[in-house]
């Protein structure tokens, strides 16, 4: 590329989940904010090691599920009780029949919840995306196999090409590399 490429961050590879876990604790304690670890599978306890709280994705799902329930209530009750009650087999069409609407209340609650789970997951993870600076580093292809990586982004206020590199090497990082956009 002609123009000088912007630095995305400094990335390092670690030997295994334990090494990465310990390193994450040290980066967290050093006060960095814009950083991340990349692993082939979710590492148990890594959220705590990174100082991350509980995901609030569940709140979105609660809203989605409630919307699903309300949709089902309106969808079933309005036509069947008010708009055009149809008498089938001489059975009543009063409010007493609401229990017969419950299965669809349940199904639509689940359906809307599931869709909101998946869409919230995509939006909160900023996916789908075609590319990412980390993919420019050829070693990073191992992340979906058995590679464990830690990256500190250049936009972090504490980032410094020399000092951050020293820190990464000190906490056991291998192949410390400057990743460009």
């Amino acid at each position: 590329m002609e123009r000088s490429r912007k630095v995305y961050g400094l990335a390092a590879e670690f030997a295994n989940a334990t090494a990465l876990y310990n390193a994450a604790e040290k980066v967290r304690d050093a006060g960095f904010r814009k950083w991340d670890v990349h692993t082939p599978f979710p590492v148990h306890g890594m959220d705590k090691a990174m100082g991350l709280g509980k995901s609030w994705l569940s709140a979105v799902v609660l809203c989605g599920g409630t919307l699903g329930l309300l949709t089902a209530v309106v969808l079933e009750c309005y036509p069947s009780l008010f708009d055009y009650p149809v008498v089938v087999h001489g059975k009543p069409t009063t409010f007493m029949t609401v229990p017969a609407f419950m299965p669809i209340f349940f199904e639509l609650t689940v359906l809307f919840s599931a869709f909101s789970t998946v869409f919230a997951l995509l939006i909160m993870n900023q996916l789908p995306r075609w590319n990412h600076p980390m993919f420019n580093w050829e070693r990073f292809a191992k992340v979906t196999d058995d590679g464990f990586f830690l990256v500190i982004e250049a936009r972090d206020p504490k980032f410094s090409e020399t000092k951050t590199r020293e820190l990464l090497e000190q906490i056991g990082g291998q192949h410390v590399t400057l990743v460009h956009d």
């Binding site: 295994n16 090494a19 991350l52 055009y84 149809v86 199904e107 599931a114 058995d146 291998q174």
Partner: protein
Amino acid sequence: MANHTATLDSDAAAVKRVPLIINDRKANWVTDNISTIVEAKTPIWWWVAFCITAPIALFGCFCIAYQISTGVGVWGENHPVGWAWDITNFVFWIGIGHAGTLISAILFLTRQKWRTSINRASEAMTLFAVVCAGIFPGIHVGRVWMVWFLAPVPWYNGIWPNFRSPLLWDVFAVSTYFTVSVLFWYTGLVPDLATLRDRAKSRVKKFFFTVFALGWRGSNRQWRHYEMAYLILAGLSTPLVLSVHSVVSFDFATSVIPGWHATIFPPYFVAGAIFGGFAMVLTILIPARLLYPQLYDVITQQHVEKMAKIILLTGSIVGYAYAMEFFVAWYGANPYEQWAFLRNRLADPYIIGPALHVQPAPYWWAYWSMITCNVIAPQLFWKKSWRRNTLIVFIVCNFVNAGMWFERFVIIVTSISRDFIPSSWHLYHPSWVEIWTFIGTFGIFLSLFLLFMRFLPMIAMSEVKIVLPEADPHHNAPDAHVGVEAHH
């Protein structure tokens, strides 16, 4: 200190659990050996198998087209047997579709980590079974172009569907189940598609996997939401999977037909679905393991044994339900109910019929096939060496597959062929169209599964890696930093 540690280690060895993935495999081994299934050249056996299943599927599609273009008269159905093989096959396939979501959801919530080896293939099997199931209610309505009446839209005269009907509940239950199963399956696939993306050599494959992996990069800030999403989908699917077959059973239980009108139906159907579903999972995975020997380390004898135990448990629940139906028919003192059970099902021409001085039931052979396959055959699994014997497990599972089909046939056809008024009694025989439509759905099911094996990772790699000892951040040596030097 060293001695003390050694003692602890040997004590730990004495009570050590058998590892889920055997032969001390590492994450890299999992990636290589599972991805190879997709990446390698198409094996000869695959073409042979596909050349058998695909024509069967196509002939099934021809039968469907013939039935739609000619009318439901090409089937053997009559009055009063308006539901026969079509609904039998629907309930059979939808039941098989229960194991996948049970494995992915309920076993996830109950922290049964062995599920990781089998969940992907079982979920795929679920989807394909639901595809096969969905065909039957669609075509049995006769005028397929009127199927949209089932959708909640006001049609030309402003009348909405009857939301109080179990048949409409079924439309919602099955379509929700299929949709949520697809979402759950795809969410689980994303990290593995990213693995295939990062390994892809050809441009076409790279493009395909880049699109479908959605740019996944395994960041922990992503995993955090991903794990929550997975937990929620499991939590949602758990009541969903229990509800689907309950709603299917309402189609029967809310009617007044003797033999259908039973309060035990929802739990009985759900247990039967899990039972039949696990049998089909084993029926598919045992040959898959033979064809890809590396799977023996992932789907171990332990997995087969655990599934055999679930089959034993659910088979016994099903047996209990059969017995309880008879008890309630007798204890409920409803003569029609008693008549249906004794004279339409139980009474055989050799032992029970003559002993009770009743005419043999016309479908007694279906009833006793069901009992043999569903209640007696799985009892072999009480013996440990038998449930650890792959051949015995495979044979029993195929008995269960047949038995679960007979169960639905017994429930549906024996109940309606002879109900309240003897003048309307009519026996039922399937036509060749019905038979071949059913065989055709096996072709569709197996063809889809073969395609899945060929193009997508059939083992959830990222999930299997979690159960490896090395995945635990407290497992590896504390002086891992030294290990880093040695590693590279």
